[in-house]
Structures are given as structure tokens and as C-alpha cells.
Symmetry: C2
Subunit: 330 residues, 2 copies
């Protein structure tokens, strides 16, 4: 294959079970993609060696030399020091103080950028997705936990120090729920899919008449985050109560972020965001009423993410394209 000359970037989405690597062009189209298992139980050096080898192979197989790749971006779970490219701590992949950028450059002689995976997803939606063309956006990912990312002036906001931009870890509740972070009553303890599923199980256990039982096949362990919404849709009182509470929790978090960042849009991603208009409809209504200064000031719109499971790759490549973080060992 003849060597191609258009500029590309590598976007790498590091997850607890799999690593997705994409070759991304300047329009944020994914030209080619490869996946490999993380094998998170292995030493980090092996994981990063596999990652780097697969990325280099992807480039070469698609006809690009390192000279035509402007860099590699990696979205990692956990707390990341983007300045040094180090993963300080990640529960998912059991990493502590892993010099990801430095290690990866053993295999990729390129500028390497590292950020938190939710930061990457946020950036991806701004570059190509629900917030395309926006300079300022906030992103909530509603999954196992509640992650988040903030884009300011087109770039990922990393916080003053690592450990910032944890918008899932604002206090919004009052039931004394212990969050995974150790604090009481964080948004994550109420608005994650995990929390919604637990609330649905508790509700069903108290209400044998609820349609939730039918939906989960009489087995609470089969409950998922869609079932409360389906029950609500069908007019089940328990489902409706669950959805009302859930949207209330999320509205609190969304309004806090609107008052603090006043972005162009607030994007919802992660599993629960598949509910689309059922979430964004009431959230936008709530914001219009409750956002600070709504009568005179701009009220951000809540929208649903569009990049799906490509969000990580697009955003990680976007770290390179926007030079959103300080490059490591350029």
C-alpha cells in the first residue's frame, strides 16, 4: 500500500475490559479501528505494550507513517494527571501512579496526550456530536457511576490539579447514601444507573403489585435501568415514582452545573441517556424555571450524546487535535 499523507491522530479508549484504538482524520471520522482485551490483571507495562503495538500496527496497515500521525490521545478511567500523562489511580484497571504517556511512547514516537475518559467523551461531543460547534459544554455520563467532563473555549478543562471536574461528586441528596468516593450524598449515589437499579429493586421489594416484577421476570437481579422507564411509560405507579425521583436528582446536578459553568449545552451520555426525550424534556423544563437568572440570562439546553461507544476514540483523538492538554515528551 502506498503511504498516505493526510494528517491523522490515534484515539485510544482504555477501558476495564477492552481497549479500543481508532485512526481518526481531521474531520473526526474514524478511518479504521481495532479492539483488544485489556487484561487488567497484568502488569501495566504489558498492557501498554499491547496498546502501543496495536496502535502502531493500525497506522501501518492503513498506509500511514509516524510522520503523518500528529499524535496519540488516550482516555483513561480514574484520576489522571494530564500534565505528566500519569494515571494516578484507577479502580477499573487497578492502576496507581502509572506513567502511561511515557510508557506508550516506547512504542509510539509521537506526542502523547492523556485525559480522563469522561473528559474525552465531552470533547468528542463538541468536536463531532451533540455539542458540535459549541465552545463551552458540560457532559454527564450516566452509567455505573456518574462521570463528567467540561469543555471551556473548545478545550478540555482539567481542573487546577488532578481530581477536578468530578461533577458526579457534588452533594445533591439528603438520604445519607454513601458514595463510592467515600462522601455522603453525591450525585453519583442517586443518578448513576447503579443507583437507579438499586432504587428499582428496593421499590419492587416493597410493592409486589408493581409491573417492575413482570419486567424483571420476577428476578430482582435482572433489573436494569431501562425497566423503571418502561414501567412508568405503561402507567405503573412505582415506575412513575422512580422516574420522577431520578429526574429530580439529575435536575439538581444539571442545574448546579448550569449555574457554575453556564455552558452552551449540557450533554447526557452513558446507558441511562438512551431514554432521550424522557430525560431531556423535563430537565429542560426544570432548567427554564430554576436556573439562576433564567429571566435575563442564557439557559443551557440539555441534549443527549451522539457519539455512542465511539465517543472515547473521537475524544481521545480530539485531545491531540485541540492540543487540549500539555503534550508529554513531544
Amino acid at each position: 500500500m502506498s503511504e498516505k499523507t493526510g494528517k491523522v491522530a490515534l484515539g485510544i479508549d482504555l477501558g476495564g475490559t477492552g481497549i479500543k484504538i481508532g485512526l481518526v482524520d481531521g474531520s473526526y471520522e474514524i478511518l479504521a479501528q481495532v479492539s483488544l482485551p485489556t487484561g487488567a490483571q497484568r502488569p501495566y507495562g504489558q498492557i501498554i505494550a499491547d496498546m502501543g503495538g496495536a496502535a502502531a500496527k493500525l497506522l501501518k496497515e492503513n498506509g500511514y507513517s509516524f510522520a503523518h500521525c500528529i499524535g496519540a490521545g488516550v482516555g483513561s478511567p480514574g484520576t489522571v494527571d494530564s500534565k505528566s500523562g500519569t494515571v494516578l489511580y484507577s479502580n477499573n484497571i487497578r492502576w496507581e501512579q502509572v506513567p502511561l504517556a511515557r510508557e506508550l511512547q516506547k512504542y509510539l514516537p509521537l506526542p502523547v496526550f492523556v485525559s480522563n475518559d469522561a473528559n474525552c467523551a465531552a470533547l468528542g461531543e463538541v468536536l463531532k456530536g451533540a455539542a458540535k460547534g459549541c465552545k463551552n459544554a458540560a457532559f454527564f455520563t450516566l452509567g455505573t457511576g456518574v462521570g463528567g467532563g467540561i469543555v471551556i473555549d473548545g478545550k478540555v478543562f482539567e481542573g487546577g490539579h488532578p481530581g477536578g471536574v468530578e461533577i458526579g461528586h457534588m452533594k445533591i441528596g439528603s438520604k445519607g447514601r454513601r458514595c463510592t468516593c467515600g462522601r455522603l450524598d453525591c450525585l453519583e449515589a442517586y443518578a448513576s444507573a447503579t443507583a437507579l437499579i438499586q432504587d428499582a429493586k428496593d421499590m419492587a421489594a416493597q410493592h409486589p403489585e408493581s409491573m417492575l416484577w413482570e419486567l424483571c421476570g420476577q428476578d430482582l437481579e435482572q433489573m436494569d435501568a431501562k425497566m423503571p422507564f418502561d414501567a412508568a411509560q405503561a402507567g405503573d405507579a412505582c415506575g412513575m415514582a422512580l422516574v420522577k425521583d431520578y429526574i429530580g436528582y439529575l435536575a439538581d446536578g444539571v442545574t448546579d452545573i448550569a449555574n457554575i459553568f453556564r455552558p452552551d449545552v449540557i450533554v447526557l451520555g452513558g446507558g441511562v441517556s438512551a431514554q432521550g426525550e424522557k430525560l431531556t424534556g423535563p430537565l429542560n423544563e426544570y432548567l427554564k424555571e430554576n436556573c439562576f437568572g433564567a429571566a435575563v440570562a442564557y439557559v443551557p439546553k440539555v441534549v443527549v450524546a451522539e457519539n455512542g461507544n465511539q465517543a472515547g476514540i473521537i475524544g481521545a483523538a480530539g485531545l491531540v487535535m485541540t492540543s487540549a492538554t500539555t503534550p508529554v515528551c513531544r
Copy 2:
């Protein structure tokens, strides 16, 4: 007087009752200062004419021409559009859609910068005060309300649109208190001096044995925000309960901001901050335990503001010096 040639800026602190104008040098020393009544009931044109006239006079009387003044900064209460230099809404001075920068330039042929007063106070603490030398800082002002400002990379963060950076308007409570902004349970409804005084009155009304009665001279209308702290210091159970609750509310807000911005420091200003170590001691203890990722990540320190009632002037001049906002009509 011979004309001076060092570069200076004008810092203007617009308040509900008074306007303070300072001539500030490059080290953020106030070389000269003048105050005048706001006369907030008058048309805005008259107020701004007085402001501009007094500022021009201050310059001239101190031997500076407009050529040696690099600009004027104004800190205004309320919701400000710093891009256009417009005060969108201010309850204190009863302004709506006032083109402050444009009007002021009729009297001051200089670049004019406008921002919210709490933003200015935050910047002032970074330029000369408790956060001096910090690139990233958060500032809470604990007064009639709870205002706030955020400095990112040495500049005021204005939010994506006007109405942002309202860190007093995050939900932290659960008692169903209606905030001045219309929303329920904002930090302001719990951690302002106003809220503390109301809590102290309610507590005293329920506890005739409390020392609070003695401190307020048996007249609840004389209660101030210092009395609960004084009562607590003397071992009064009601005072101790009030202070414990108050610090708990503030700890929630401070921890949210630490998790979202992870600044170098979090500065407390406004009347209640006079309690100093009585606040910062327990807040720093709380943060060490509850800040997200405290075991691996940087934990911001809570400190008390140092600029006192000069904060507005220093910060407003700082808007000019740091070109923190887009200048209007340069």
C-alpha cells in the same frame, strides 16, 4: 503637579450604597482612593456620569494623564455580561440591561472591563492577597448572600454565558429552604450571613436558656453572624449546634467546588470569614477526608481573604492588568 509616567489602572467597586474608586499601580498598591454615594434610585446615566467624573478627577489630581492609565475595571453586583460590559440584572442597584462599559467610556477614554464583584474579589486575592501567586483559586463571599468567583490560569472565569460562576447557587441543603434565586436549598440559603442569623434567631426563640439571648441584648433583631460563634466559644450548646451546622453546610459547598475545580486554594471572604481559623480549621479537616481522591490527589487548602474592603478595587484594577475579560470599545 508634574505628570507621572508609571502605568496605572482604575479599579472601581460599584456597590448598592457606595462607589469606591482606586488608582492602582502594577504591584496592586492603591496609590489613591475616593468614595462617593451610589444614589441607586437615580437613572443609571447619572450614576455612571458621577463614577466617570470622579475617576477622571482622581487620575488628574494624582498627576496621571489618560495616556498613562491602561484602563478602568468595574466590579458590579448582579449578573454581568463581561463581553459587552453590560449589567444584565442587579437587584442591589436596580439595574437591568445597563451598558455600563459604553456609558463609562463617555467620561473615560480608556479600555473598560466589567465583571461581577465577587469575580473581582477572587481575582484580587490571587493578585495580592490570600491566594497570591496561585494560578487557580476559588472564592466564596459569605455575606448577605453567598457570592463566588473562580480564577483559572490567572484569569477570571466568566462562564460560557452570563449567569455562570454562581457557586452560591448549588444545591446543598434538604430542608426545603427557598433561595433568593427562586430555587430550593441553594448553598446561599444555608451559608450566607443572612441564613446564619435567621438560624440563630430561630434557635434562640426555641431556647430561652441560650446565651444567644444575652449576646443579642434580649432583642432578636440585634442578632448578628458573630454571636453564634461567640456563644459556641463560651460553650453554649445552642451556639455550638449552630456553628456545627453552619460549618457543615459550608463544607458541602467547599467540597463540591474542590471536586469540580480542584484549585490551589479556596478563599473565604465576606463578613462571616472574620471567624478565621474557627472556619478554616474544620473545613480543612473535612476536605482532607471527603475531597474526591484525597488519598492520591491534591487537596486544596481553605484560607481567609486578606484584601478586606479593598478587594473590590484591587480586583477591578486586576481585570485591566490581566485583561481577564474582553475589553469593550478599546
